[in-house]
Structures are given as C-alpha cells and as structure tokens.
Amino acid sequence: MDFFSSLRELHTGLTRRETTASELLDWSLQRIAAVDDRVRAFLHVSAPRGDSDRRMGADIAADRMLAGIPYALKDNMCTRGIETTCASHILKGYIPPYSATVVERLDDAGAALVGKLNMDEFAMGSSTENSGFFPTRNPWDLERVPGGSSGGAAAAVASGMVPFALGSDTGGSIRQPAAFCGVVGLKPSYGLVSRFGLVAFASSLDQIGPLTHTVEDAAIVLQAIAGKDGRDSTSAHIQTPDYRAALTGDIRGLRIGIAEEYFGPSVDAGVRGTVMKAVALLEQLGAVVSPISLPHTEYALSAYYLIAPAEASSNLARYDGVRYGFRAVDAENLMDMYEKTRSAGFGPEVKRRILIGTYALSAGYYDEYYKRAQQVRTLIRQDFERAFADVDVIVSPTAPTTAFRLGEKVLDPLTMYLSDICTVPVNLAGLPAISVPCGLIEGLPVGLQMIGRMFDEETLLRAAHAYEQAAGMAPLRPELAMEVKA
C-alpha cells in the first residue's frame, strides 16, 4: 500500500488493522518532506495534533470509507483556526473563525486534514504561476506547470503526498490540472456541493470537487461532500444517490456525443489523437458514438471572461484592510488605505480581472458586456440541453495541450485563457464533468473530459469508470513518486 492505492484499499487496510490512521498520516508527512521541496504543492502543512490517532482509530468502521484517510485542501476553503490565504498576500495571516461545509463533512467522515495547497491567487489562473507566494511544479516534469488553479491539489495527489485532495473549479480549475498531472478531477453539478466556506471567486460558477487517482475514489469523496446545505442558498435539494453503486462497468448502449467545436485548431494534434483513441475504446465497450453540435462554444470564453471577473470584482471588494488580512501601514486617510492595501495585496492577474469586471458592470457598459455575456450563457446552456436530448455523455479533450513550461504563457494572458476553452462552457452551463487520464504524450499526461447531464453524476461516473477500467492505466505514477516507497 501507498498513496497510489485506491481509497478502498487503504480503507480495507485500516479495517483489517494492517495499518493505522497515524501510520497513514506519517506516510503523508514523510512524502511531503521528501518531495515537496521540489513540487511545492503545499502552502502550509497542518497535520492533526495530539490524540488524533486514537480519535480516528476509534472511528474506523466498514461504512466509513474516509475514516483515518489523510487529505489536503486547496487554500481557498476555510479551515477554523488554520490560516486560509487563497495564495494571496492580502489574506496572509487570515485565520477563519469557521470551517467550510466540505471540511466539516470530511471531519465527520473521519478524514484527516494534512495541509493547505497552493493555487493561482484567488483561483484566477491556469498554471498556479499566479500564486502570490511561489509556483507549484508538475510532478511529471518539474520544469512544467501543474495546471491551475487547483495546481497544488493535482500535484499533491499526483506525487503521492495525499491520496485525495479537494479543489475548486470555476472554469476548469479542477479538470485542467488533473489532466496536466495525470489524476482524476471531478467538477460536480453546480449546487451539488455546498460553497459555504469556499472563498468566492465567481459565485455563479464556483464548485468544489475531488482530485483522486481513480474514478471510484472520486465517487467516494463526492459521496462524503455532496448534498443540501442550509447555509448555501444555491445548494440544491437533491437526494444524493449511492455513487459507487453506479460504477457497474457496463456502458453498453450509452450514447456518447462528440462536438467538433471541442476539437478546434487550438487543440494539439497529439491530444486530439489520444482522445480519439479513448473514444474508440468507449465504442468497443458498447457505447454509441455520434457527432453533435454545440454552436455557441466559440463565444464561451468571451462570456466567461466577463461574467467571472464581474462577480470577482464584487466578491473581492471586501479585502480592504479594514477587518482582517493585510493592511498597508503608511496610509494617510481611508481612501489611501484602500488603494495602498489593494495595490500591494493583490497580484497582477487578480487586479486585471477586478478591472475588467468593474468595467463590465459600470453604468453605460453593463448592457453591452455583463448582460450580453449572460445572454450568451443562456445560449450555451441551451446548446447543451439540445445535445443531451440525443446523448448521455459528451466527450472531449480536457485541455488543448499537455502541461506547458513554467513562464511559457505568463506574459500572454489571452493564450493562457485559451487553455480553458474545453472546460469553461461546462461551468457556464452548471453541468458535471470529469477529467480522466487517457494516455501520455512525450511523458506528459493527457486528460479525457466527460460531461454529463445536470445532477446526473451517476451516468458520468459510470462512463468514466468503465473507460478507466478498460484502459487499465490508473493510477498513473510519475517517476518522482517512485523514489519514495512506503
């Protein structure tokens, strides 16, 4: 056993007393000590203190799949008493007075929080290079980015530091780093997982989800965090099904749609080929593949880069130095304090998006930008509705390329935004989607994206699981992770 073992295997080890919760925690801390000086996935390691072993040990039972399992969180989820920064200087030193609902649910499930993970500042980015503190590196090639914004989460799982992590996905921020790092990343339907305690980037798009080695692991973690939360008004009244029970391995007759809009010229030929091979495998498994059209896809990025910054400009206005976090010291008056605090506290990408968003909401521009973007959003949603009349799952590449080099796109934000081209429409429509590893190109993982119907995570997970089992490549193990054996 190690952290490339499935959650089921780890759980069995615990119930059979072949290992203990504190031993798993020690593994995790040892691996972090061994590899994280190179990967730099963690912002803070905050392993449980004191008698956690006894507490967790007592809780281990057959029906508690996550009891005693270590995990880590993207640093935009609030943890009571543990610093939560969103990788931003403006929140440096901020200790939340409460925990996010997902953290409470994982606490209740007996999982053990090991630490908080690096990310693009306020989840704005696709490479984790926008972290206010330091970039995270891809465990498959330390000169490359892990993707973003949940780059720390993907890298931590991919390098075996924790068996699972939670990320957040606003325009692809779970799926794209999962693809770049060769792990499974699930973005649930909007409203399935509570956002209470997730520091907001774009409230109508943000959704928390797991990063794991296998689809079954993703189902297990989703089971623990999904479901109605009275503290989040956008959380849906959904009776959560047994997600693992959906993993039958049988996808005969499953109707799969391929949209040409997701295989456009920005998609790397190698990526396209690898994904089409995966589609062929799905067909062999009995799925029926047919072409579909999502005609408004080309407008998705423009709409997303108006709606997300508009919401962000309002969500991030509270970081003013008045109550918590960083405050500039040499201010002469209130306005000066706001300006100096925000100028010094936010990084360039966050400032860029606040400016874009403020502009899009300004009097005289609202109709032209924000309102039109919302209209486009409706068209994109309708595209999917029409497509899902004929198919059960839509398949595409997760990202147009494999992981790029650090620094390669930093100076060219528009090219960077293009990495989100396959993932952004899904957030605009609120749909569930998953990225599953489907091969390697020149030693770098490629992700296969599957998109499901609203709240139909069962079909989505079933399809992804059937593919994963047939492809037989999970879990992917980067060379870096082989160095350290349990």
Binding site: N76, M77, C78, T84, C86, L91, Y94, P96, P97, Y98, A100, R195, F196, G197, L198, V199, A200, A202, S203, S204, G230, R231, D232, S233, T234, A310, E311, S313, S314, A317, R318, D320, V322, R323, Y324, L334, Y338, T358, L361, S362, A363, Y366, Y370
Partner: protein, 479 residues
C-alpha cells in the same frame, strides 16, 4: 416672479420586526454592546454566504401589499457595490430593478381633503453598520451590529406638495406599518428613517426643477422643519436669479439648516448586478394571498368606519386610530355601550390622561374594554355619578378590579331613592335658610351651594339630577 410649487418625494426606510437578521441568525436587538451581534455572514468573512430570512420576506410582502403595491410572482436581490467601512462585504444586498412591490399608494388627509400619494416601489435590503467617532483619538470605530438588519425602502412618487404633506405621509406610513405588525417604527432607534428629494418649479410647469436630497431628518418634526427650511432656501435662490445645484444635503437639527454632504459630481456608480449567492424570489399566488390575509383593517379605513358606524367626529376618529391597540380598545368598548361617543370621551379623556400620567401603553393596562364599558354603563343607568366614575377608573387601573366590585367594597352606589334624598334635602334646607332666601331673591348660584351640601351629606353618592329636582320642588313648595 411666478408662484412656485414645491415637489417632494420621500425615501422611507422601515426596519422589519424580525427576531434575527435578514441573511444570518444574529439577533436584531437594539442597543447591544458594539459588535456583539455579528457572525461570519454579516461580517462578510471570506466564504460566508447569505440565506434569506423567511420572516423578513413575509413582512416585506405584507408591507408592500398594505401600501397597495402589486407584488410580482418573481423578484430578485442585487448587489449595490461601494467601498466604505460600514459595509463589510463592500456591497449591500438590495433590490434594483425587480423589487417585491411596485405601483402602490398611500392616502393622507390634508385640510379635510383626501389625497393619494403614489408609492413607486417597495424593496427589501440589509442595513449597514455604524461609524462612531472614537473618544480615544482621531479614528473612527465601526459597530457592525446593524449590518444585516432587515429593511424595506419605500420610495414615493414626487406627489408631495408641502412639508406638512410629507410629515402626514410619513405618519401614515408609520401607522400602517404598526397596524400590520411589520415594524415598531421608532424613529429615535432608527427603525423608521426618511430621506427626501425636494425641488421647486413655477406653478403650472410640467418639468421638474433641480432637486436636492436631504438626509438625517430623524423625527417627524425634523422632516417638516428640514423641508420647510430647504423650500425657503431654494425659493430665495430662485428669487435672486440663482439656480439650485443638484446636491445631497444633511439636515442639522442644532443649527436648523441643511448642510452640503456631496455634490452631483461625487455621485457613486453602484454597479448593481444580480446577487449570484441568492436564488430568485418566487412567490406563489397562495403565498401572496396569505400575506394579504394578515393585513388588518388599516387606519384610514378604520377612521372612516368609526365616523360612519359610531357617529364620531373626525377629530375623535383620528385620535382613536393613532395606534392599532387604541383603536381596537375603543372598538370593543364602543360595541358594549349605549352611546359610542361616551366611550370615545372616556377613552380620549380620562383613560389617556391616566395612561400618560403613569407612562403606560394601552395594551399594558389591567382594565379591559369590557370593564370600561361596564363602568360607562353604570353611569348611563344612574348607578354612579360621573365624578365617582373618574375615581373608580383610577382604582380600576391600580387594582385591576372591576367597577362593581369596587362599588360594593367602597359602598359607592348612587342614591337615587327620591324619598331618601327628600329627607336629606329637608335637613339641608332647614340648616341653610339664608341660601334659600338668596335663591328666591334671584341668586341662582345659591342653588349650587345647596347641591354641594347635599353631596356632602351623602358623601357624593346622591344622584345629581334627582338632587336638583328635589331641591327645586321643596324650595318652590315652601313659597
């Protein structure tokens, strides 16, 4: 110079009488120590989310219906963005273009004439915090207890034509809100607040003049004073040939003047947009009708009914409908007495005087409308005199006992037995020959002295009408 017409529109904020805040479960209690009623939600802590208080929605809808507004099946919350330390999220959750109520009106009575003031809209929003100047130095201290207190904002049409009308409109709003149990509307606690827009134009002109906005008029008297001041200030400027600048002014009670807060150039762009944290408000027809069913008979209707049904003068009807509790008290008393006007007289006179002296509210006293009606009945049937009834009412308020019990305890039944009173009168006349002679000599006043003696002999219990008659009969009989 042409005769000028004053045009006023009011923006009234009413605090909804919920136990907890509009988007979290913090208490709304007034006067708590600074920052003691706060939580991650109302503090705007990163990651915290608002959840709408159902009671606030229900009261808001009830208020909108009571102001004769149309309540649409769908409305929504928006964010009003601005930077200021009183707003921890840096935006206020409010309603911009789809409020819970629109196209309503309020009726006021001006100089005996009914006048309808249009209500443009009623919307739900959260209150902001309070900045206090620190006693310890040149800094401001922020108290966030008020952040998230539920409010409705009631925006009037520019239908108001004088400072007096503005005050009457505001008083009517207060009364309606109190009747509906939407709010206690205590201006001194800030649970009723009023801003005004005022402009002047030549009589007969259709276009509006340039308006100023006046804030901080925190009592009914100040609303009238502030608007009267601003009306004169604008009129004087126009008379001098100057033009009025579009400004926001603050009413300063101490100096009795309006002071500049900001001019038009400093106006904010609030960048309103739909709050993505709150789903659209969807109200079923049944829900709206249920809220309508919660609205009692409102003060204007009640005034009319009291005049019609009980034959009260307009003045009495106005006084008795000032609060829902008083009106109900009168209503229940009046139904149980022969002459409703006597119930009105007793309540407006003796009862309110006693309440005022004891600083009590009508719903805090032990005398029920039934007990008061019984007391009035005892006067009507001659059991007790009005004078004794006044003393009894005080005792009833003090002890909670009813009139009959007190009369029995104190032996206060009025003496209406003619034989008994005739015997007393003969004694009195015999002992006061001079007064009898004076009366016969034409000094009418002398009769009063004899009546006084009768009352003294009977400890005030003699029926005054019979006393009068018996005395006159005996005096004339002796001629």
């Amino acid at each position: 110079m042409a005769v000028l017409e004053t045009v006023i529109g009011l923006e009234v904020h009413v605090e909804l009488g919920t136990r907890t805040k509009i988007f979290c479960s913090c208490a709304t209690e007034f006067g708590a120590p600074p920052n003691s009623h706060v939580c991650p939600v109302c503090l705007g802590s990163p990651g915290a989310l608002p959840v709408l208080n159902e009671q606030a929605l229900a009261l808001g809808v009830r208020a909108a219906l009571a102001l004769n507004c149309r309540v649409p099946a769908e409305s929504k919350f928006d964010r009003k963005n601005y930077f200021y330390p009183d707003s921890p999220k840096a935006y206020q959750i409010s309603q911009y273009d789809e409020p819970i109520g629109q196209h309503g009106f309020v009726e006021i009575v001006v100089g005996g004439e009914k006048k309808r003031i249009g209500v443009t809209r009623v919307h739900l929003e959260e209150d902001a915090g309070k900045l206090n100047h620190s006693p310890y130095g040149d800094v401001s201290l922020v108290d966030l207890n008020r952040v998230g207190i539920p409010l409705i904002e009631i925006v009037s049409e520019p239908d108001i034509r004088s400072a007096e009308e503005a005050r009457l409109y505001l008083e009517e709003i207060r009364s309606i809100m109190q009747y509906c149990l939407v709010s206690e509307c205590r201006m001194e606690e800030g649970s009723l607040r009023c801003d005004a827009n005022i402009s002047l134009r030549p009589m007969g002109q259709r276009e509006f003049g340039t308006k100023t906005e006046i804030k901080n008029m925190n009592s009914f008297r100040n609303v009238q004073r502030g608007l009267e001041y601003e009306q004169e200030r604008q009129a004087a400027m126009l008379a001098r040939g100057e033009s009025v600048a579009q400004q926001t002014l603050r009413w300063d009670e101490a100096t009795g003047a309006t002071l500049l807060m900001r001019s038009k150039e400093d106006a904010h762009d609030y960048r309103y947009f739909p709050d993505p944290d709150l789903p659209r408000i969807l109200l079923s027809a049944a829900y709206i009708e249920a809220r309508r069913g919660e609205i009692p008979e409102l003060p204007a209707r009640k005034r009319e009914r009291f005049e019609r049904e009980y034959g009260l003068p307009a003045y009495d009807a106005g006084v008795l409908t000032a609060s829902r509790e008083l009106a109900e008290y009168f209503d229940q008393t009046a139904q149980r007495v022969r002459d409703p006007k006597s119930a009105s007289n007793w309540i407006m006179g003796e009862l309110l005087a006693n309440l005022k002296a004891a600083a009590l509210l009508i719903d805090e006293i032990q005398v029920t409308p039934l007990a008061l009606a019984d007391l009035i009945g005892l006067i009507e049937d001659g059991t007790i005199s009005a004078k004794i009834a006044k003393t009894l009412l005080k005792d009833m308020l003090d002890t909670g006992k009813d009139a009959k019990t007190l009369i029995a305890e104190q032996g206060l039944v009025q003496i209406s037995d003619e034989g008994e009173l005739r015997a007393v009168a003969e004694r009195v006349l015999a002992a006061n020959r001079k007064s009898v002679d004076d009366y016969r000599a034409g000094k009418e006043k002398a009769l009063g002295s004899l009546v006084g003696q009768m009352m003294k002999e009977t400890k005030g219990k003699a029926n005054p009408q019979i006393v009068n008659r018996v005395l006159l009969e005996l005096i004339s009989g002796r001629e």
